[in-house]
């Protein structure tokens, strides 16, 4: 799934000759794979935190800590943790894969799967099962 960057792997100008005069530099797919997986992971974290806060009181208390007395409740922690996971995962994967090619289809479907699980985790009829 991860290979060295090969600028010749796509024939972009062959598929779309109108691109040729733009003289575009080819770019590795690693950074794109990074954001696909990281965004899926962010949404997954959102759903996981939402559901965990219902299951476990101390997770909820931890998430409420993020509200800094603003009256936001556990949503402060759920959203902050999810956003941090998104950005940190993106940064880490970006740094690792910056100069690599990573198979985009696999990355996208990993991101999509995580995203769908995340949305399920935020869906009240689901997380209320655990109340």
């Amino acid at each position: 799934m991860i290979t060295d960057f090969d600028p010749g792997r796509h024939d972009d100008e062959g598929v779309a000759p109108e691109l040729a005069p733009l003289d575009l530099a080819d770019k590795p797919d690693g950074p794109a794979a990074a954001v696909m997986i990281a965004s899926g992971l962010g949404v997954f974290t959102l759903g996981l935190m939402t559901t965990l806060a219902v299951i476990n009181g101390s997770v909820k208390s931890f998430l409420e800590w993020f509200q800094f007395d603003q009256g936001v409740g556990a949503l402060a922690g759920k959203s902050t943790v999810a956003v941090l996971v998104f950005f940190v995962a993106w940064l880490v994967l970006y740094l690792i894969w910056r100069e690599k090619d990573v198979v985009l289809k696999t990355s996208f479907y990993i991101g999509l799967g995580l995203g769908i699980l995340g949305v399920i985790g935020t869906f009240p009829p689901f997380f209320e099962w655990f109340e």
């Binding site: 691109l19 770019k27 950074p31 965004s39 959203s79």
Partner: protein, 191 residues
């Protein structure tokens, strides 16, 4: 003819940022849709990309601004517990027709004083407050992909389709947030 501070923030959160998000989404989607081989000239690609980058980043920025103002400014007014008196959690809501100084929107909905309103909180608000945060994450990821590949998306139909999926998923999450937000604002407005 003026707004209270709370009204101003709900207008910014829902109406101003919501409108901006919708405009940027529709304009961006129209641009993204045409990114297929053979449809644009080289000149046309250059002309298009500038607006597409702006649209995608404006959409992401509007989504971040909407969830941050929503969570940190508007939501605390919604959820504050005003109604409890002693053992009775909803004492402040007795006879209330709408939320008021003794009965927050959350109190009001959960108290069921004006019909079966509890589900608006349990399903509507609980889903909306969480899932809306997917919108800025997905919109940012889509904007990055658009900016990173630029015109090369034209030559890679599968990648373009993947970006459209993320773009539309960001919109769908915002739509759940926006629609329930508007509905809740009807049933139990922030006052």
């Amino acid at each position: 003819m003026e707004f209270s501070s709370r009204e101003t923030w709900t207008v910014i959160h829902g109406l101003v940022l919501g409108t901006l998000f919708l405009l940027a989404f529709a304009g961006g989607l129209a641009g993204l849709w045409s990114m297929r081989p053979g449809l644009m000239t080289t000149e046309g690609i250059k002309e298009r990309m500038g607006r597409l980058y702006i649209g995608a980043w404006v959409m992401a920025a509007a989504a971040w601004a909407a969830v941050i103002t929503g969570t940190w400014i508007v939501y605390p007014w919604y959820r504050v517990k005003l109604a409890p008196v002693g053992e009775d959690a909803y004492a402040g809501c007795v006879d209330a027709i709408l939320p008021n100084a003794a009965c927050s929107p959350r109190d009001f909905l959960k108290s069921n004083v004006s019909g079966e309103t509890e589900m608006w909180h349990i399903f509507g608000m609980e889903w909306k407050e969480h899932v809306s945060w997917a919108a800025p994450i997905l919109a940012t990821a889509a904007a990055f992909l658009i900016a990173y590949y630029g015109p090369r998306l034209i030559a890679r139909p599968w990648l373009r389709a993947a970006v459209i999926v993320m773009f539309v998923a960001a919109f769908a999450a915002a739509l759940v947030g926006g629609a329930f937000g508007a509905f809740l604002n009807k049933i139990a407005p922030i006052v």
